[in-house]
Amino acid sequence: MVFTIQVNNKKISAEKGETILSALNRHGIIIPTLCRMKDFTPTGACRMCVVEVDGREKLVTACSQPVEEWMKINTHSPRVINARKTIVELLLSNHPDDCLYCDRNLDCELQKLAGELNITERRIRSRKIKPRLDQSSPAIVRELSKCILCGRCVRVCEELITSTSLDFINKGRSTHVGPAMDRDLNFSSCISCGQCVIVCPTAALHEKHNIAEVKEYLNKPEILKAVQYSPLVPAGIAEEMGFRYSRDFDRVLNSVFRKIGFDKVFNTGTGTDICISEIAGQLLERIKNKSDKPLYISACPAWIKYAEQFMPEILPDVSTVKSPQQITGSLIKTVAAARAGVRPDKIFSVSVTPCTAMKFEARRDGMMRKGISDVDTVLTIRELSRLIKLFGIDVTNADPEPADEPMEGRSSVAAMAEVSGGMAEGVIRSVWFRLAKSEAERQMFKKLRSGASFREAAFNTGSVEISVAVVDGLTGLNKLKEARASGRKYDLIEVMTCPGGCINGAGISSMNTKDEKKNRAKMIWQADDTDAVNLPEKSPVIINLYEKLIKENREISDKKIFHTHYEKRDVLL
């Protein structure tokens, strides 16, 4: 039902059941918000969105109050503006005013609000909150003094990720957000997915920066500096730096890396191709052995930690294949090192990803060979854009260059692995290709590409039927459990921690909107239709690696470097 309400003496239309805020936004009236997150239930914690409603004694929060026909609303009366301003001033009164040194300088929602509300003098004074820094996690840093307790991280961790590692602790002035027992993050059940980092309005939660380490190694002439970047990085950098992405930019980035000072530039997509074909091999093995247990894809490191903590019973069924980043990393330290004639310990290997959990993954046990880790440091796309700016490189003016052999290219399915469902699709296509000796029709995968949090499909290659489940975001795990409890059998299960897959990873931009996510996915699927190399088996890079480089290298010809192991993990829950 549509009716009219009166806002600032003008009539606007509103729908029954919607909130004041959504009605106002539709009509171009902007109300500041702080604790609000789209698609989440409102909590009304920040009180920034208050408006004046005639007949109500107190101000009303627009984010939660449903519109009613009689309403006369005033959105910017002096009373309302004063209230909003005072609230921000209260927040600023004990905030550590180190904006110039802050991780989120110029990108901070509190800073923005203070500017929008014209706060130019310190009216309310207080002592600064005592600083408390938690750097224990390899992926995420907590700066508690910068927390304004909006509760977004708590809600994301509970409602979107379901690991519920963060919650409010204590009451009154001692209230703060933290993991169980108020211990540090590395003791907790945090899976380092970093979704909390994306939603944090201030720098209270941010990824751990490894730029300094990279800078230090860039100045060491005796070290070979190698970098690998995931297929999403070029698009992410374009978004981060604010220009339109085109396919050319994939190759431009290679020269940008060389300008920064990296000696070798590799494509993580090569590792993804190997990952897909290794998992396809494992799946074929299982099909041959008529195993009735599903194979879980292990590419998402956050999901792996989640499984180790909360579902240790499935660990034997999780594929032992390392993630694409680690596969590429291990190839850099073996194959690439041999080609360049450098000892593996003289290589500094950096990986750029759209993910914070990769920072954690690079430090896992079993991610090293002979005491040398596969990947030395992981940067997020945000960090890379800082590095590019730091080195003063004009990315729009760089020339396209090819990446370095032997990991210079990827197939289009390697890029699809960045979207939820893409990895499973790639494995099925690879299996199909091996069994049916022909390419699978794209139409078949429509079901796996929808946006639901749990999707399933079955594929008949003629000789065998393979049923696949895709869990898009950990909220889908419940549906998977239900489906399995009701007797459904799956051969292959893909789980991605972030809804939508890596395109919504925590390493890209600070606030992902639904539209941006959709664009990223669309772009990747379109590329799949046009690319000639659309299967790992067809990629000359992969063929070269498998047939020649790996086979000939006696140390790694058993392919053990592509595999790892998982163990039950004891954490504070």
Binding site: G44, A45, R47, K58, P66, S93, N94, R127
Partner: protein, 644 residues
């Protein structure tokens, strides 16, 4: 025993007529101890009695009776109300009026009982006699009902308090107990009960004053299959102890009230949400629920009516904010005690998303009498807009303290001057604080206001849940407001910004007012003034925007004190003086040279070594070092130390 239970249930509770046959009535009189051959000794056993030493009194009396082999009934009863009288011992000799003896500690027992049993009553400890029909009057002894403390009260809710053993369901039934419930479930429909309570005009006694019957109707009409009734017994205002006293003294009546309310909203799930720390009351209510189950008042298919009900008891985790109704729901669901957004209101979506009615203890205890005597009877007491009575917990500087029940419309002056008997030691009255930490002050101008919801609301004062704190001239209003603000800063849930940060900032500014002036030249004075200028604006934004009642009402004491005692704030800010000599930072102590004997007592106790001098010579205090703690002032035997 089994027979008695059968008689009570079948011949009393389920008896069709309101007038019982004489033989049943005679049994009930026996249970009520109105027909006894042996003397009866009643000892009050509320929390305040136990603190005053009623357990020692109990054992002393028991020893005395054993030693003298006297056949006497010894009964623990609830609390009568006057906390000053504790431990209160009432003695009823066969056929004679009950005598009230106050402050009977263990050592007084022998003297008292010797006197009573040998007709030589010690008048010093005697408070009075309670007139009961059919009993012989004691000549020359004043009636307890005529004492000012009791004379101005009207007891509906507290009718049974202190009169019967709160662990004995027989006595409760003998005092018309559970008859309202039995009548309700047999003769009325859900809607009719809601209707009767709505017509009675009963309003929520938790402070909001919402029509109870209307609330029930809203929950009943939601069309949801399951609903919840929650009795909010989380009374956590410092200085309020009405609910605790009612629970300890008359638990069965609360159970009856809950039972009727549950029936009215058609639920079988009732929960009592208990305060952490009221262990005594908790034990009583648990025993009472057990007894009620035994007698079939609770359970499946109660009295073959087809209606089932069970009451469960839940304890709060220990935070002030958990008393807020939506935070309470979160707590009951096992979540963090944080208030939720309203709407949806609990009556439409509360506990586990089901319609939930949350009522205060006092509200529910009014229900049985309304059902028994009808809404018109209830409307005859109190005022037009607020019928009935209100229970207050008088605390603070009055001569009398304790729990009292007055008719709505009674003036605060009556409560202060008659019931509480004025201020202790004849000091000057300053204010009454109504409604606990988030309440407002009633000053001498407002003392004649009739206490009812509408009159107080017009003046911008909340009725509160029953806190009635009397404040005299020895209390510093600034310090008191600071204290309340500190409580709020520590007890808020931390969810919404205006409340969490606002209480903190207001407290810091208030502290700067009463802190000792240091380094006045370095700009702290300017800072202080700047802060003071913001107090009002922070307070109004907090009131306007906070999420729940805690934040919205947290500035109330400050705003009310500033309105009524502005000059006191100004003295603190401008003259740096505290007229009540309470604020440590603003006190200056000095030693009267004439009076000081040089005994060194003060110098040796001074925690900051601010007192210097030679033995047997007058000492002196170094003002810069002095923190104003006042230890020297208390310790000086020669009143040589003066405070300004």
């Amino acid at each position: 025993m089994e027979d008695l239970k059968k008689i009570l249930v079948e011949k009393v509770l389920l008896y069709e007529s309101d007038v019982l046959p004489p033989e049943t009535e005679s049994i009930l009189r026996q249970i009520r101890r109105e027909k006894t051959t042996a003397p009866v000794i009643y000892i009050s056993s509320g929390t305040s009695s136990i603190i005053s030493g009623s357990e020692e009194t109990w054992s002393a009396i028991k020893t005395y009776l054993d030693e003298n082999s006297l056949k006497t009934d010894l009964v623990r009863v609830g609390c009568q109300g006057p906390a000053n009288f504790e431990p209160l011992v009432c003695i009823q000799l066969p056929g004679k009026n009950r005598l009230f003896f106050r402050n009977i500690t263990g050592e007084k027992v022998d003297l008292l009982l010797n006197g009573v049993f040998h007709s030589d009553i010690n008048e010093d400890d005697l408070a009075g006699q309670q007139g009961t029909r059919g009993f012989e009057m004691w000549p020359g002894i004043p009636f307890i009902e005529e004492l000012p403390f009791f004379a101005h009260q009207k007891r509906i809710v507290m009718n049974n308090c202190g009169c019967y053993d709160p662990e004995n369901i027989d006595e409760y039934i003998a005092r018309n107990g559970f008859r309202a419930f039995a009548k309700t479930i047999r003769h009325y429909t859900f809607e009719e009960v809601c209707d009767i309570v709505e017509r009675s005009g009963l309003r929520g006694r938790g402070g909001g004053g919402y029509l109870t019957g209307l609330k029930w109707k809203q929950a009943l009409n939601t069309g949801s299959l399951s609903r919840y009734l929650v009795c909010n017994a989380k009374e956590s205002d410092p200085g309020a102890f009405t609910d605790r006293t009612l629970l300890e003294s008359d638990p069965f009546r609360l159970i009856e009230g809950i039972a009727i309310a549950s029936y009215a909203i058609g639920t079988s799930n009732a929960i009592i949400f208990f305060r952490k720390g009221s262990e005594h009351a908790l034990e009583r209510i648990r025993k009472a629920i057990g007894k009620a189950r035994e007698y079939g008042v609770l359970g499946n298919n109660i009295f073959s009516s087809g209606y089932s009900l069970d009451i469960s008891v839940r304890r709060e985790p220990g935070a002030f904010v958990c008393g807020e109704e939506t935070a309470l729901i979160n707590t009951l669901e096992g979540k963090r005690g944080m208030p939720r957004l309203k709407p949806p209101y609990p009556t439409t979506s509360g506990l586990f998303g089901k319609p939930t009615v949350i009522n205060n203890v006092e509200t529910l205890m009014n229900v049985p009498v309304i059902m028994l005597n009808g809404p018109e009877w209830f409307r005859a007491t109190g005022t037009e807009s607020s019928p009935g009575t209100k229970v207050f917990a008088i605390a603070g500087k009055g001569r009398m303290s304790g729990v009292v029940e007055v008719e709505m419309g009674t003036s605060a002056r009556t409560i202060l001057e008659d019931i509480a008997d004025g201020i202790k030691e004849g000091r000057e009255f300053r204010a009454i604080q109504l409604g606990g930490v988030s309440g407002s002050f009633l000053t001498s101008e407002n003392l004649d206001l009739e206490i009812d919801y509408e009159t107080l609301r017009e003046k911008g004062i909340g009725m509160g849940a029953g806190g009635f704190v009397i404040i005299d001239e020895n209390t510093c209003m600034v310090d008191l407001v600071r204290h309340y603000m500190e409580f709020m800063r520590n007890e808020n849930c931390g969810k919404c910004i205006p409340c969490r940060e606002g209480t903190g900032r207001m407290l810091e500014i208030l502290e700067s007012i009463i802190r000792k002036p240091e380094n006045e030249e370095s700009g702290t004075t300017l800072e202080r003034f700047k802060g003071v200028m913001q107090l009002d604006s922070i307070a109004s934004v907090m009131k306007d925007t906070s999420l729940c009642g805690l934040g919205q009402n947290a500035p109330n004491p400050f705003m009310s004190a500033l309105g009524n005692f502005r000059e006191e704030f100004e003295e603190h800010i401008f003259d740096r003086k505290c007229r009540a000599n309470v604020c440590r930072g603003l006190r200056t102590f000095s030693i009267d040279v004439e009076k000081c004997t040089g005994c060194t007592a003060c110098a040796s106790k001074c925690p900051v070594n601010a007192i210097y001098g030679t033995r047997l010579q007058p000492f002196f205090i170094v003002e810069e070092k002095c923190t104003g703690c006042g230890i020297c002032y208390d310790i000086c035997k020669f009143t040589a130390i003066t405070v300004k």
